[in-house]
C-alpha cells in the first residue's frame, strides 16, 4: 500500500496548474536534470514529457549554449552569482526537430526536501519577434515614404505655387508692353525709358521662370512612376503606417468593395495622400470622446475613389478659402503643406481632391477621385456597388 500512494490534494492541484498553464514550465534539479515538463512545453519543444524527464536540460538548448549552461550552473552553485535566476531574459531554445526559436526564460529556485530545484517559465517569442520585424520594416517604409516625398513634394509644391504668380506677372508684362505700344502710337512719340524698364522686368521674370523650370526638371525626372495598382491595398498599407505609434486609441473604420478597378498610380505618392489626410483626420478628432476615422474606397464608373472622414469639429467656413494654400497651417505643429501636396498629387494623377467641410456636429470628409486604368475599368465595372463590407480595425491602444 505504501508504494502506490495517492496524490495529495495540493499535488493534484499543482499537477492541474502545470498542465493548463499557457507558459512552458520546467522543473530541474541541481544537476540540471529535468523533473517536470508540462503540456505547454511539449507543444513548444515538440518532445513528450516522457522523452525528456531525467535528461539534462541541455537537450532543449542549441548546441552552442551547452558549454555555457554547464558553466553557469557550476558557477552559480559555487559562487551564487546570478546570470539568470530571478532575472529572466531572452534566450534561444531548440526543438526536437532541431529548429531554434527565441524564448523568454525566467528561472526561480526552491529548497525542497529533495534538495535545491530550479523552476523555469518559458514564453515563446517567435510571434512577438515577427511582429517586431514587421513593425521595423513598416517603420522603415514610413521614413522612406515621408522622406522621398518631403523633398520631391516640397520642390513641386514650391514650383507650382511660384509658377502661378509668375505666370500672372509675365502675362501682365506682355499686356503692359501692348499698352505702352498703344500709347506710343496714339501720341506718336517714343517712350524709351518705359520700354527699357519693361524689357528689364521681362528678363527678370524669365530668369525666375527658368529657375522654376530647373526645379521642375529635377523633380519630374524622378517623379511619376505609374503602376497599375489595387487602391484597396494601397490604402490599407498607408493606413497601417498612419496608425503606427498612436498615443491614444483611435477607432478606424474601413469600408470598401472587395473588387475595385485598377488605377495607374505612383503608389508612394498616393500613400502620401492617404497618410496626410488620415493624420489630419486623427488630429481633428483627437479630442472627441470616441475619436473615429472612417476610410472608404469605392468606384463610380471609370473613377475610383477613396475618402477619409472623421468625427471632429469640421472645417470652419472662413478657413475653407485658404485651406489649400501652402504654409498656412493653424494646427501649429504642421507646416501646412499636407493638403497642398495632396491636391497636387491628385491632380498630377488627373484626379481631384474634394472637401466636404462638415460642421454642425459633422466632421470633415476629404475625397480623392482617380481615373481607373483604362483596360481594367471595363472588366470590373459590375462589381462596383459601394456596399460597405470590410473589416473594422482598431488601432493600437495606448
Amino acid at each position: 500500500m505504501q508504494g502506490v500512494r495517492r496524490p495529495t490534494l495540493s499535488e493534484a492541484r499543482l499537477e492541474s496548474v502545470l498542465e493548463t498553464a499557457p507558459d512552458g514550465i520546467i522543473v530541474m534539479d541541481e544537476g540540471a536534470r529535468i523533473l517536470v515538463f508540462n503540456k505547454a512545453c511539449e507543444s513548444l519543444f515538440g518532445y513528450d514529457a516522457a522523452e525528456v524527464i531525467g535528461e539534462n536540460v541541455r537537450i532543449l538548448m542549441p548546441q552552442a549554449h551547452h558549454d555555457n549552461h554547464d558553466l553557469y550552473v557550476q558557477r552559480y552553485r559555487a559562487t551564487g552569482e546570478r546570470k539568470i535566476i530571478g532575472i529572466g531574459r531572452e534566450v534561444e531554445g531548440r526543438r526536437k526537430d532541431g529548429s531554434i526559436f527565441p524564448l523568454d526564460l525566467s528561472v526561480g529556485e526552491a529548497q525542497t526536501p529533495n534538495g535545491r530545484q530550479f523552476i523555469g517559465v518559458i514564453r515563446d517569442l517567435s510571434a512577438r519577434r515577427d511582429t517586431e520585424r514587421r513593425l521595423a520594416s513598416v517603420q522603415a517604409d514610413l521614413i522612406r515614404v515621408t522622406r522621398v516625398s518631403a523633398l520631391d513634394e516640397m520642390g513641386s509644391v514650391l514650383a507650382h505655387e511660384l509658377n502661378q504668380p509668375l505666370t500672372a506677372i509675365m502675362l501682365y508684362l506682355q499686356a503692359l508692353e501692348r499698352e505702352v505700344h498703344r500709347i506710343q502710337v496714339a501720341h506718336s512719340r517714343l517712350e524709351p525709358r518705359a520700354s527699357e524698364l519693361l524689357g528689364k522686368a521681362t528678363r527678370e521674370a524669365q530668369r525666375a521662370g527658368s529657375i522654376i523650370q530647373r526645379v521642375r526638371q529635377l523633380v519630374e525626372k524622378r517623379a511619376p512612376e505609374r503602376k497599375n495598382a489595387n487602391l484597396n491595398l494601397v490604402v490599407d498599407e498607408a493606413l497601417e503606417l498612419a496608425m503606427l505609434g498612436r498615443q491614444r486609441a483611435i477607432y478606424l473604420r474601413r469600408f470598401g468593395p472587395t473588387v475595385l478597378p485598377g488605377v495607374l498610380i505612383d503608389t508612394v505618392q498616393i500613400q502620401q495622400v492617404v497618410l496626410n489626410l488620415t493624420r489630419n483626420a486623427i488630429e481633428a478628432c483627437q479630442r472627441e470622446a470616441d475619436p473615429t476615422v472612417t476610410v472608404t474606397t469605392w468606384a463610380e464608373g471609370d473613377i475610383v475613389c477613396f475618402s477619409v472622414a472623421d468625427n471632429g469639429p469640421g472645417i470652419p467656413a472662413e478657413r475653407m478659402r485658404t485651406l489649400f494654400n501652402a504654409f498656412r497651417s493653424e494646427a501649429g505643429t504642421g507646416m501646412g503643406i499636407g493638403l497642398t501636396i495632396s491636391r497636387a498629387i491628385a491632380q498630377n494623377h488627373m484626379g481631384e481632391l474634394l472637401v466636404d467641410p462638415g460642421g454642425d456636429g459633422k466632421g470633415a470628409c476629404f475625397t480623392v477621385r482617380l481615373p481607373a486604368a483604362v483596360d481594367m475599368a471595363s472588366q470590373n465595372r459590375d462589381s462596383i456597388a459601394a456596399m460597405p463590407m470590410a473589416a473594422a480595425a482598431e488601432a493600437d491602444k495606448s
Binding site: P165, A168, M170, R178, A205, M350
Partner: protein
Amino acid sequence: MTVHIVEDDYGVRDALSELCRAVGRTVRVYPDGEAFASGANVEPEDTVLVDIGLPGEPGTEVVRRLFRLPLPPTVIVISGLPLADIHHAMRDFSDVIVMRKPLTSELLGLLA
C-alpha cells in the same frame, strides 16, 4: 470672338484677361467649370482657355463638354503640369492646343 477664361487662380485669370483685352478681344472669366457650364454662351468662333487643375469639376470635363458641341470653339488648355501629362490628359481630343505655364508669347500669336 469672345475669349472665355476658366481658371481658378485669380492672378493668372486677371492677367490673362488683361492680355486678351490688350490685343482687342472681348473677355469673360469663370473661376471654375461649374460657373462656366452655367454662365457661358460659347460661339464657334470663340476661344476657350481652360486650366486643367480646377477645383471641383476637372478641366478635362470642361473640354469634353466643349467638344460635344456641334461646332466646338478653339480650345486652349493651360496647366502647370508637365507637357507629357497634359497631352496624356487630352489624349481623347485631337484638336486641343496645350500650353504649359508660365505661358510664353506664343499665346499672343494665338489670340491676336
